[in-house]
């Protein structure tokens, strides 16, 4: 049983990590496009098209598919509540990757908020 728990936890860490990598590639592709947000549907679709021809988006997509496959495996093995609470480690990965790789600037407010969200998710999922 304990072995099974460790496997599920590592699988959840792996799916979180793959999703983080996917988000990084997506955000980096979007950043390179310099698109000014709009609610004009035509411009949005043009933007999505430009995004789809970026090779790095597809690298991210591969990771997203891997992440999905592992997540489906996790869901078949673990309780949804447990899976979601453990998946909150995703927020730690995203915060660190955004800071280190995307060079997004963090202030204490953002760290505090992210920490509160992680604690909240663990409480909600396990209660």
């Amino acid at each position: 049983m304990k072995d099974g728990l460790l496997i599920v936890l590592s699988l959840i860490a792996l799916t979180s990590l793959c999703d983080t990598i996917n988000q990084l590639f997506l955000k980096s592709a979007i950043n390179s496009l310099n698109f000014t947000p709009t609610f004009n549907i035509v411009r949005i679709f043009k933007f999505i098209f430009q995004l789809l021809i970026k090779p790095r988006l597809w690298v991210g997509f591969v990771f997203s598919v891997i992440s999905l496959c592992i997540w489906l495996l996790v869901l078949s093995k673990a309780d949804l509540n447990f899976a979601f609470s453990a998946d909150s480690m995703h927020y730690i990965f995203i915060a660190l990757a955004s800071k280190v790789i995307l060079k997004e600037r963090f202030n204490s407010l953002r760290w505090l908020g992210t920490g509160l969200i992680i604690s909240g998710i663990v409480i909600v999922s396990l209660s």
Partner: protein, 138 residues
């Protein structure tokens, strides 16, 4: 350079993508549950499992929702930082319990309300952190 502030429109887009995300999880859980009798022990059985999952209509409905979320999510990320968008997207942890009170008449424990309060405060702080950043840059 446009402002990276979290506006009401962005917040509404995030909630829309959150609701879709919840639907996706529901569909995927459904498609995985249908294969409960398959034990995944090695690569070969994992492939059998995935083949069965991909034959489920729930998975394809989920994938359609994934495409929609991708379009909404890309629009959001064009405007705000990844480290702001992802934490705010945790809103679904609040939406699901609230939806289950109204639609399913479920009872929510005090502990769970505490957790919801934590998430809500966190989301507000992260949203504000983006505003403060703009102020610093001026």
């Amino acid at each position: 350079m446009f402002k990276k502030k979290v506006t009401l429109k962005i917040l509404l887009l995030l909630i829309a993508s959150d609701i879709l995300e919840t639907i996706i999880h529901f569909f995927f859980k459904k498609s995985a549950l249908a294969q409960n009798n398959l034990a995944v022990v090695d690569i070969a059985s994992a492939l059998v499992f995935l083949k069965a999952v991909f034959a489920s209509p729930f998975l394809w409905a989920g994938l359609l929702a994934v495409v929609t979320v991708f379009i909404i999510w890309s629009t959001i990320l064009a405007k705000i930082d990844l480290s702001v968008a992802v934490p705010i997207a945790s809103f679904s942890y609040i939406l699901v319990p609230i939806a289950s009170i109204f639609f399913l008449h479920e009872h929510i424990t005090v502990l769970r309300w505490g957790g919801i309060l934590f998430i809500l405060t966190g989301v507000i702080l992260v949203s504000l952190s983006s505003k403060e950043r703009i102020a610093q840059e001026k």
